[in-house]
Symmetry: D2
Subunit: 499 residues, 4 copies
């Protein structure tokens, strides 16, 4: 297990998308929007803008690279992204180690003209489509699942681009929140289940913007108009009002509950839910289900702070900051120093002796993935003088891999996939352990239905076609290419995950 996993030890979102239409500074606003979405991915960043060339034909310009938005774009790069329409994308990263990636937005020239695509989510039938498309003569130049969408778009036979897009959507399955540029026309599409969030905003001057989360709007002074509905396709022609349609048969929504528990920024409003408020209620519900005799409630900053506040408030226990997170951790060369115990977690968290010494400490966290980070935290706190450590998790045990866009470790690395709660407690060396129930989760959101909880329940709203996959992947692996790209950054083969 690489050191990087130890440091990270958290679920990863795959991506964030942002788009602006109808503004002279479209690329710059997209750049700012991506900065607000940077928590959704720090590995790669990219923007494509659309403008009219000297012959008044639409032209796309693209700038992409490895790293955070602020690292990838220079002022000159932004200036070169002409046009009143732009889409952008950020992709997740691990700390300290290069990982598989494929930079988005994808750009392509097809019979409809230039098309660019940014995708958040994961298609469950990408490998089947990929195999079929290859058999039909398609060549794949990336290993990202989103590339199949472009191939389908180009092969579907309809006169209008929009009809092609509709038919393409009917062929892909799984999770997708897309922003797509066809010429200067912007499309925003959310899959029928609505796995990943997508929202529509309006800028002061009347321009339109689309983003994974409403925090992107806050930063650029745009107002959140509404969420794009599951199954909805919004088309924004240059200078026009958005036109909405629902190209696919309606399905039962199944929004990713983990967006509320962990991924989204607390200051976002996702599908009508204030993320921070939901998290506080998660903590309150957790107290009701698993009260603990503690002297102090602490969080694992920053993601579980709200829930810890809720837990402490409901339980009438003092809330305090018993773990401090370093925000300056970058690529660190630590191998020669392996003698230093638990080094990875130490780089990220440090206990506050003054807060935990001599106290019974309740630690509220939002997930336990492999259990190794939790154990490190428990040990750190005990070493800092905590007399008892009660671990509380604001979600049910994470037992099943996510085929819809969360970077899941190998199923057998998910500690809860095989161990009982008591066994996990033992492994992480806590004095007690409590997970929130799925009912508690539903109740805290204030919305009983419409959630995807497959990672807890194994009930997949869209079947991940797992059986087929194994064989397919083995065949497909023989042709997948491992790539490295300039500037010392390596790009190893993206295993098409799961389905």
């Amino acid at each position: 297990m690489p050191e990087s996993s130890l440091i990270q030890g958290r679920p990863h979102e795959e991506c964030g998308v942002c788009a602006v239409s109808g503004h002279g500074e479209a690329a710059k606003l997209t750049y700012l929007g991506l900065q607000a979405l940077q928590h959704r991915g720090q590995e790669t960043s990219g923007i494509v803008s659309a403008h009219l060339n000297s012959r008044h034909r639409p032209h796309h310009r693209v700038h992409r690279g490895m790293g955070r938005v602020a690292e990838v774009f220079s002022r000159d790069d932004l200036e070169a992204l002409h046009g009143r329409v732009a889409i952008g994308h950020v992709r997740y990263s691990t700390t300290g180690a290069p990982r598989p990636f494929n930079t988005q937005p994808l750009v392509s020239s097809l019979r409809h003209g230039p098309v660019a695509l940014a995708h958040n989510g994961n298609l469950t039938n990408a490998h089947i489509l990929r195999r079929a498309l290859k058999a039909g003569g398609a060549i794949f130049q990336t290993t990202v699942d989103s590339e199949v969408i472009l191939h389908l778009l180009s092969r579907v036979e309809h006169d209008s681009f929009e009809d092609c897009l509709r038919q393409t959507l009917s062929q892909i399955q799984g999770a997708y929140s897309l922003v797509l540029l066809h010429g200067q026309c912007l499309y925003a599409v959310r899959d029928p289940r609505g796995f990943r969030p997508l929202a529509l905003g309006r800028l002061p001057g009347g321009a339109w913007t689309v983003a994974s989360e409403s925090v992107a709007f806050d930063l650029i002074d745009a107002a959140l108009v509404r969420d794009i509905a599951p199954g909805e396709m919004v088309c924004i022609e240059p200078g026009c009002e958005p036109v909405s349609s629902f190209p696919l048969p309606a399905a039962e929504p199944s929004r990713c509950i983990f967006e509320l528990i962990y991924f989204s920024r607390p200051d976002s409003v996702v599908d009508g839910h204030s993320v921070q408020s939901v998290r506080v209620r998660l903590g309150e519900a957790l107290w009701r289900e698993h009260p603990a005799e503690g002297d102090v409630v602490i969080c694992v900053p920053d993601s579980s702070t709200a829930a810890a506040i809720g837990y402490a408030r409901a339980g009438g226990i003092a809330f305090d900051m018993g773990l401090i997170r370093s925000h300056y951790i970058g690529r660190t060369f630590i191998e020669p120093l392996q003698r230093i115990r638990d080094f990875g977690a130490k780089l990220k968290y440090n206990p506050v002796r003054g807060v935990v010494e001599g106290k019974r400490v309740v630690v509220v966290d939002d997930s336990i993935v492999r259990g190794t980070t939790s154990r490190k935290i428990v040990r750190m706190l005990r070493q800092a003088g905590a007399t008892a450590i009660h671990m509380r998790v604001t979600a049910p045990p994470w037992r099943h891999p996510c085929p819809y866009g969360i970077d899941t470790p190998d199923p057998n690395e998910l500690i809860a996939s095989s161990a009982t709660v008591e066994r996990i407690r033992d492994q992480i060396e806590a004095d007690s352990l409590g997970y929130l129930s799925t009912d508690g989760l539903r109740e805290a959101t204030g919305q009983a239905d419409g959630w995807c909880m497959a990672c807890f329940t194994g009930e997949y709203p869209v079947p991940p076609t797992r059986g087929i996959t194994k064989e397919v992947l083995e065949n497909d692996d023989s042709v997948s290419s491992t790539m490295s790209m300039g500037n010392g950054m390596q790009r190893s083969g993206l295993e098409e995950r799961f389905g």
Copy 2:
């Protein structure tokens, strides 16, 4: 006023220092220690190691650069820093704009052999010494005040290096926590007032380490042995136990109270005080002095979180996260977008509507510098639906510049230097405003005396020789050089600040 100041709007510490003696991986451990001290400075980083060359004479190797520790050092750079002794330094930075700097540790070859120096603090008589040294034929190749220490060391006439160092110390005034390498011998020195912190730690294998804050020890598994006392000089010969001495007449200690209020990491123990615990008590004391009728208490993350928890706890009001801080803000090209209001602060903070809407909000902060950031925060919160905003500050009004190493804006930019509390309240558009008193401050620390509170009271423990300065600076400015250095980074003239 540049956008960068708007974004920042906070006091800046100048530096952090770290050293290791007696370990085969001295430079790597120093590198990790600097990472833990990165909050004290992100503009430049440097390490000097000492080893014996092929003729068994001490040799210094140095690697320095602009940026954070993780950016400046490659694995190869660290490998090249041979030796069992090393000292390191980080220096503060502003976000988004280049600022004056001089990279440390300084290295030099003088009659005693190779000498390297890392300095936290600010000398109050540097300009006078500089002028005198120049008159005596010294040439200055940096604009950092610490360079005078090397010149004095070389000019003082004593046989032993240590005697030279003692006499040098008798000539410098102001704030200094130093780590200094003479050959392979490490010196750690703290000025008689003890303005800046400095602590001694021990590594598992018996090696010694010195650092500005104990968090550096936590990361490398070292134990905090004790703080280095004001006026103390600790000398660590290779492989020997530290030898302590007090070369200067004792003085009344005057430790910087702002280290506890704001600068130090909450998980540090500084001069016996758990920073987090002191901050919680500051919030409690603030409630006693300035209670507010509020529905929710929020902090300005991350520095005032502890105090807000204390305030909420003492007042029996709910604590919540009403402002979210982005940790991904880098150099951002925002000029073309000036039409977007309050852009700077927005990049850093975003309100959580669900927390503040319809509520009377108490905002606990640790300082108000110019007032512009506070006003932005107040406006943001009001826009997010807060019905009343009560600002509470865990320190007295900051009225006077700091000559001891805090980056103070021009005195007339300090809003409290001219405005009354009521006037400040009006300017920041808060419904009420309360500052903690100096007595409350003392009480919260649990230690009545021994603090420097000059920035609040104007009572300077060491006179900043202000009158002389103006004239001197004008003369001296004629010879100061504005420098820029490779790789597009610019290095403009360091105004020798204040004294």
Copy 3:
């Protein structure tokens, strides 16, 4: 006209290719081979290696980037390119200004598995194929003509990959010297006309190598075995001897004569011709056709040195270095200094007063493109004291654009396309001007037939389908995308040149 053109003022080769099969250091040897071919392109560099993965399936690794070979590859990059087979590519560059590009080798995953391609030359029917392929559902992710080869390969319906390749070759027209990796199998293909050179070499241990020019073999101690014949396809299975075949009907060879005149390195042996020796004979022939009364013969270094030696030798006139070329010219920021006359050419060439002062100077050059550089040279020499300047060109007037892979300026920028020799002489301000005849050219090579001289004669061996092009390009331009890529390097749209 950008300054960069003034500086350059020379024809550009498009690319160089290199490959190694059967050597444990295949990528490193390819890297060295590309260094020897660097004169054929300095804008982008790339290598793809093939190895077997843990399941014993072929896997491709790629590293590509902007810049020269030595800039693009770090030691670690080379180490990561595992495998006993590798192909590489360099692409031309202009000095001082970013220009259109698409990095090769191209990599793809298609139904046959992983396929990588490096291409020197230009397809004349690429736009037609591209349009047809798009109509058939293909998506283009680069703007390089070579991408059509991969699409065709994937769409052609044959059982064996080699049959697919044969049929693909039957569909493409124009100039191509290819190295192609299918799994671990290396193919080297030269178009039936043999426009661009391609040679086969053998390494000491028995490994095989293919390269655009024999200089690549010299550097890696390989022996030139033979040139790959026009229309030949060589297939090298791992560890096997090359197998040769001729998949297409034979055609009259038409090797690019400009390779001998200008592009190839003088120390190369191209299709049996020692380049240096041919150039000396070109100079001798030029003397016979256009003797000049001169006191000294000078060259425009380095490309016309051999011809000037030949001219001087035949004419019994002293040869000397009257122009010195700077080899350190990089990206230079010269706009603010436009007042300095003829700045561009000055950066590259400087006259030697001691050689030309008071003399009648014969300048031997290999081409006149726009005439601006020639005029600058004439003026420089006159200013340095030359009393007469006789310009002699070792080729016929360059009147027609090249559709086979030479970067030709817009036809109406070719001074000889509209002006008579006398008019050109007048424009470049020379006292006399003489071009070598096509007959002289043939004679100097010692080979009467088999040359492409279309740029001089307009007789295109393969029709460039020009009439169609205009309309096609206009349609196609609407879908071409202008791209920029990370790290401040911009990648603007590659106009699919000419046909």
Copy 4:
């Protein structure tokens, strides 16, 4: 012996200097001038400009870095170098390996105000001065000999800066061509022997410029006014005419003859000599002293081209290009490929079989340092079919190290320091070997006296105080510091060479 030496195998000049006074674009013109002087050093580049600050006091701005001029300076860097006066410096580099360096111009603030210095040459008494200065309390922050000049300037007690400079000059010995900025006043100084060249030029608008070689003037359209005489000091106040003086007692000039033989660009006019013309005459003289029965005369490009032309002309033998030099060789990772014979030289030179096969070849070179490169060349040529190889050198055997600024290998690495000509011939495996005599050298220059030929004769015009050095260096080495600097570039200790 590192591979890099094999590749290089040539003497190295240490530096080039350039300055402009009285032009609004002074830094940009200096930048261009440095580009023309890039052959004198490619390791580091720097420029200091002088302007008046807002208080009308002189201010210096500096930009320096590792690499060539075009790599070190961005457009923004140049724009930031305000002012009508600027000085610049380039320093030599080896190919492929980092080497000791200290970036110039040096900048300093001393009692006279800001002073910047760029130095070409080597002081012979630097170590003695350094030791004395340290004893007197000076601290050295670089290891470059030029730093002693600044210390002396600051310590000398005179009222006027110019008097201080005069007295400083009286204390330093050896070789120095300096450009120095005091405030806005530019000084150009050449040592009394005139070891290194220095010339004065005038720009069209009336501004003045100083440079190591006249080629710098050619590029910026300046006219060569005259050489600065040995012992001369030229002072150029802003907007004034240069004022000349001779502060030191006159000495017998001893200009470095190697500037004509090898270092200077052929298009330069150095101290009245056209470099190209002198070299042609060197070749002619060499023929007269050592005629050879050859079929072709070839050069080792580019430095011996002129001499080979002269040799061929005098001997009536054909001149041709039998060795081709690659101009694209950069940092190359070749260690894993050591099995490839003579790799280093191969990267740089490649023989032309067509020119040398079956021929008796005369190779004209300008120096033999260690003999290894010559042997590689001889072997290459023989392998390419030469039937006899006659090596001719346009200088006497290089037997003695140069203390005046040429990078000499360890004396016992100089093959001619211990071996006879016959022995050298044997070692380099040539059929015959002839060196030009010192008389032949003098005659070819057309100037009998005034040359430094110490490297040939051992007669040092200024004693290098060698005896003292050994001991001094050993002491001094104990205090010299080995430095590395940011960005992965390492800066190891500069051994203060020789004296």
